[in-house]
Symmetry: C2
Subunit: 415 residues, 2 copies
DNA sequence: GTACATTAGTAATAGTCTGTAACAAAATAC
DNA sequence: GTATTTTGTTACAGACTATTACTAATGTAC
């Protein structure tokens, strides 16, 4: 019953021409090669996509010439007949660079076209409180190093994506990110200027959505509808429906941290009362840490999530705070599932480390509050990647763009 | 420039062939004609879509031959040159039949291919408490009458859609609809059997989503991201993102009525506590009607929403209940907007009649609780159609399917 | 009233896709 | 060593759109 088009923006979808059909099929083949882990033969592609063998051959030629895929030696371990030539995503073609700002450090990540993480690096933030501009400049310095490193490995960085904890407008302007002290800051433009080179796309995106993308890549692809809870002090959700990230009207979706749990609850930095953040944010949980533990120094030299994890074993107050957090999370997630109907909840970021103490309470609330839970139980589990998912996802978006529409990246082979 | 992707289905999109490009362009042209209210010329279409004039001519020929569009006499009121031939959606081609079950009545609606409501009819429900099977049989009887009526007007009903208040699985099975006493009832199969004729598609869908479709059709098409609140005793939301209805993993999205407002609030028919329904459902508001009003008979012979509207003027208790409902609605809608980012809220169904007493409170909560409300205010207003939106939307889905992919409905003109 | 300008729509042809069918290549099976 | 089997390619046909040139139908200038 869907109304017109998708992903066009300006109301109507574009006309279809001959070139479009080729572009579409190129993307189709590439997605197929990416989906199958191992090498795929041309005939496998023909069978999987439904395209004719000659068509596949011609398209594959273009992808090979464009350096997006590579042939691997014939596979001899078959029964009879000519052995198929394996095709895999190229490991020396375009690559993506992801950047992330955390409470204590900056992170950079390089992912090659095959989707493997080739480089993952952390740098301490220069000052405890840094200006947004200085932070971007520090990130740009790390980025330039990473780009040099990538080139040394035969990779070409075709785009940079910065993950931020807060809503981002037009893929460039960060509206409200109290965790890092940003407010109405055009991070994209600043980063673009600091990086200089014009042959790279630069974009800024919400960390939770990017993390969802990374977790989706890491999973078996049966995961098609899920929500990925991500964050530490600032809480967000990346919602994936039918294999596609939900972006919303202006790209401000997934602000789970500011969903109301108690209409007259604790005040939040956003100005409202009773936001989930105030019950399930790391700050709220840390507030329950007993004073003697704080004095004993158990909290130093560790990330907040690890600290909480260590203390949970010996402090009943911390366990109680985690239970409260789990219940609050469950209530908000139940609202989300009632509204958008996903079948899996991934606890990611700091929460992947705390999943042991949270899942039970979350599951209980979802079971009670989600209308359709009795017919289709919702799975709640720790995300496989964890805190690094946002940077990795940021790098992945870049190559994902190329994978979706390879036609703009390859020069046609003239027969 | 990703192409079609229509009928995506199981994970991967289908290969693009020559025939697809034609199908795509046929749909494109048809959507374009539907979007412009008045007659459109071939050259207008060429300019609007970007396709070449001869291409447009050929596609238009096929649409004319298929009876989906019609030519209207040349328009003489132009400046110079050959006058353009106007093209409009056919008013005698395929049509859709919508059915709806309300608390007091059954409804049927015929919409022609141009999208105009040609027939809208109500029948009282036979008994106060009817079995689901009997209700379907009653609906089938009305439907058959409507089909005959349509044929007399030169219309061909190509599909029937039933709107129901509750989550629907696979477009046929109603999972939980306490407002009409249904639970795990395969309404689609029963209706298909009762109607008999095999040349019609029969489907069942959630009323809120269908209402959203109808309101979207009725609006200027600038409305692209909105939520449509619909219902009376059972509350649902149709969420439209970028012109497309959000369906969710299994089609169970938009269950706003069961979003938690107070974690330990009033018990709900679903088994949970503190659902929105318990605060903003019509039953909750009606509970505040003073006893003397009930005895005075003010509540009889009117729909509940009208009753409330009448009483609101003279009863402070009712106004207080409406204010409470508005606040609860605002809290839940704020959660929805934080999660999926829409820019407009339409109060539909019974709530369109009560908008005067609700909008202010809803707006206040959204302003306070939606993180991004300060940069992009959310509009809250009464939906133009109101309670009939669900039936009309049900009929519209049918013709929307044809409009989206006309190629299956027309026989090619062989040159 | 006629020639001209102007705009709408239509043929004819070329270009670019994919599909079908026949063919070449490279292995196993006997 | 020949037949069989499976993979991949070449040659040609079919489908669809773009370009170019043409016809149709009106208003306008004189």
């Amino acid at each position: 019953m869907t109304m017109p088009d998708r992903r066009t923006g300006s109301g109507f979808s574009t006309p279809a021409r001959q070139e479009n059909i080729r572009a579409h099929n190129l993307g189709l083949i590439l997605q197929r090669i990416a989906a199958d882990g191992g090498p795929v033969s041309r005939i496998d592609l023909a069978r999987a996509t439904g395209l004719a063998r000659p068509t596949i051959s011609r398209l594959v030629d273009d992808l090979l010439a464009g350096g997006l895929i590579a042939e691997v030696g014939p596979d001899r371990s078959r029964s009879a007949g000519r052995p198929p030539i394996g095709l895999t995503l190229s490991r020396t073609g375009p690559a993506g660079l992801g950047l992330d700002i955390r409470t204590g450090s900056l992170a950079a990540c390089i992912v090659d076209f095959a989707g493997t993480v080739r480089h993952l690096e952390f740098a301490p933030r220069t000052h405890p409180v840094t200006s947004p501009e200085q932070t971007i400049d520090d990130l740009a310095a790390i980025a330039k190093d990473a780009i040099r490193l990538a080139e040394a490995q035969g990779l070409t960085i075709v785009g940079v994506t910065l993950a931020t904890p807060g809503p981002v407008q037009d893929r460039t302007r960060v509206r409200f990110a109290p965790a890092i002290g940003w407010r109405d800051f055009d991070a994209g433009s600043r980063l673009r200027a600091a990086l200089g080179s014009a042959d790279m796309s630069v974009s800024v995106d919400n960390e939770a959505g990017l993390a969802a993308l990374a977790e989706w890549h890491a999973s078996d692809k049966e995961l098609r509808n899920f929500v990925c809870l991500f964050g530490d002090f600032e809480l967000g959700a990346g919602i994936v429906l039918d294999g596609e990230l939900l972006r919303g009207a202006r790209g401000w979706s997934g602000e789970l941290g500011h969903v109301t749990v108690e209409p007259d609850g604790v005040a939040c930095s956003c100005g409202a009362k009773g936001c989930l953040q105030g019950y399930a944010g790391l700050a709220a949980i840390l507030a329950a840490v007993p004073d003697e533990e704080k004095r004993s120094g158990a909290t130093s030299h560790r990330t907040p999530a690890v600290t909480i994890g260590v203390l949970a074993d010996r402090s009943p107050e911390v366990r109680a705070a985690l239970a409260r957090a789990g219940t609050a999370l469950g209530i908000s997630l139940a609202a989300l599932i009632n509204l958008v109907d996903v079948d899996t909840v991934l606890l990611d970021g700091s929460y992947s480390l705390l999943a042991t103490w949270l899942t039970e309470e979350i599951q209980a609330e979802i079971r009670d509050r989600v209308l359709t839970a009795r017919w289709a139980p919702v799975e709640v589990r720790a995300a496989p990647i964890g805190p690094d998912a946002a940077v990795i996802g940021a790098a992945l978006t870049v190559i994902e763009d190329v994978r979706r529409d390879p036609s703009t990246w390859i020069t046609r082979t003239v027969s």
